[in-house]
Symmetry: C2
Subunit: 280 residues, 2 copies
């Protein structure tokens, strides 16, 4: 697992480097920013042919609100530029569709890993969700229905389950909108509790991309928008540059390498390997 | 489930009302604040005799760091005032040990509910954690070992799983330290990724209790404190006053009742029932 951890981080930090200059997306016209690169990321992320199970498809546990809004957005994928993101059981599966840097091969891994938000396998028991992403608008909609295994106060979703759902939606949005890699911060203000089994709609917007960081906001509310469950903001650091990786150590081992993230104002150093990835 | 949700919230808001005046805990001597009431809460929370399974006990999946630190803190429960909190599969079980207001009986519920942080039942697969609480110091230590089903980036815990662990530790700490009920905000700065299967130690401090809110901080780090995984702060609203519940509606239904939370500077209104709990 030690080397696997490192390789995975490298794999995520694949081949494209964002321009160093800050990119503030205009509030009223965000359609032009990073259009083509985002399209390329999306096409690699959304594999057309795969044997992997997509967990972001309707099942018998979905409530009517969730089903209806899913169908509504599915229509918008045909006419309005929205894209339904697949959701596999592990990020390792998502990574398989991406081009790897440095000629690294994707290591096969027979262990049973799961992305946290797909940790429960029984339909309706845990996380039911689907994310739609709009490449040119740089925004996402996540339809989220918490099951009875996500409980906090009796009958209501645990605040932490919503926090994780927000983090996951931020993460996928940031990756597709600007190769966001690591969540740096997550700030949530909870307003109301989400009843277990009901729909919460998470609206995520990329507010700006600046200084090698991507800033996002989220509002989670009921379908009719009459009840706000929570508001949040998140910040993600952007892609690791492959040419910023220092040469291998004399021993040839992978551990202990340094990754530099360069921006206009600073250089951040990460040491990866030995099963860790830590900022220096 | 509709009435259940309401009743549970009422149950949580049991019989004691904190003084209205703000209580800022002195940084160097926090041992006196709320001593006796906290002791009473702790004794009701930590049932001496129960058939419920306690999930906060060592199992074969625990790494040596986690086992060793668990034993260390277990010794401190005998000599240094620390208390090991039990951890049942649902908050509904925790609530059973508490005195209920208004003569409400605890409704039996045969459905399969789980607190989010105990959603996975296979040892080592998901959350492994144990919380120790120090009543007079108003602080908690949570030993947290994320399993392979809590993954984000390959080999590392999902940021959302740590966010949920922080929220849960805040929640239990806030309840025992001052009858904290609802998380109002959660702000996290992520520093480093936690390798799956390793130990993260969460140190939670109650910073102050002021204006009917409880402010907490958390630092999550490796056992040797050489690597900080994340820092966070949280704010919880304190106990609902039972006598602030408005009379039942003419229909006699539980839904739609208003709960008032009174403080020196404001009154916050919550409408509970209809499967929801929302701030007005």
């Amino acid at each position: 697992m030690i080397r696997r951890g490192f390789q995975a981080v490298i794999r995520l930090g694949h081949h494209r480097v964002l321009p160093g200059a800050p990119h503030v997306l205009p509030r009223l016209n965000r359609t032009s920013a990073f259009g083509s690169s985002t399209d390329s990321l999306v096409s690699r992320f959304c594999l057309e042919k795969t044997d992997l199970k997509d967990y972001a498809l309707p099942n018998a546990s979905w409530c009517p609100d969730m089903l209806n809004l899913y169908q509504e957005f599915l229509e918008k994928t045909k006419t309005d530029g929205w894209i339904k993101l697949p959701s596999f059981k592990s990020n390792r599966d998502h990574i398989q569709g991406l081009k790897l840097p440095f000629g690294l091969a994707a290591t096969s891994d027979k262990s049973d890993w799961r992305i946290f938000t797909r940790c429960l396998q029984v339909e309706g028991q845990g996380y039911e969700y689907v994310i739609f992403f709009h490449p040119s608008k740089k925004k996402s909609i996540c339809l989220f229905q918490p099951g009875p295994y996500l409980e906090g106060a009796p009958g209501f979703a645990h605040g932490g389950s919503l926090a994780a759902m927000m983090d996951e939606t931020f993460s996928k949005t940031a990756y597709l909108a600007g190769e966001g890699l690591f969540t740096l911060s997550l700030n949530i203000r909870f307003k109301n509790l989400i009843p277990v089994g009901s729909l919460a709609v998470l609206n995520v917007d990329v507010e700006k991309i600046e200084d090698q960081k991507l800033y996002m906001s989220c509002i989670a509310q009921s379908r009719d928008q009459q009840r706000v469950y929570a508001k949040s903001s998140g910040k993600e650091v952007l892609s690791l540059s492959p040419d910023s990786v220092l040469p291998p150590s004399p021993s040839g081992q992978m551990e202990g390498r340094i990754l530099r993230i360069r921006s206009q104002t600073e250089v951040q150093l990460f040491r990866v390997g030995m099963g860790t990835c830590c900022r220096l």
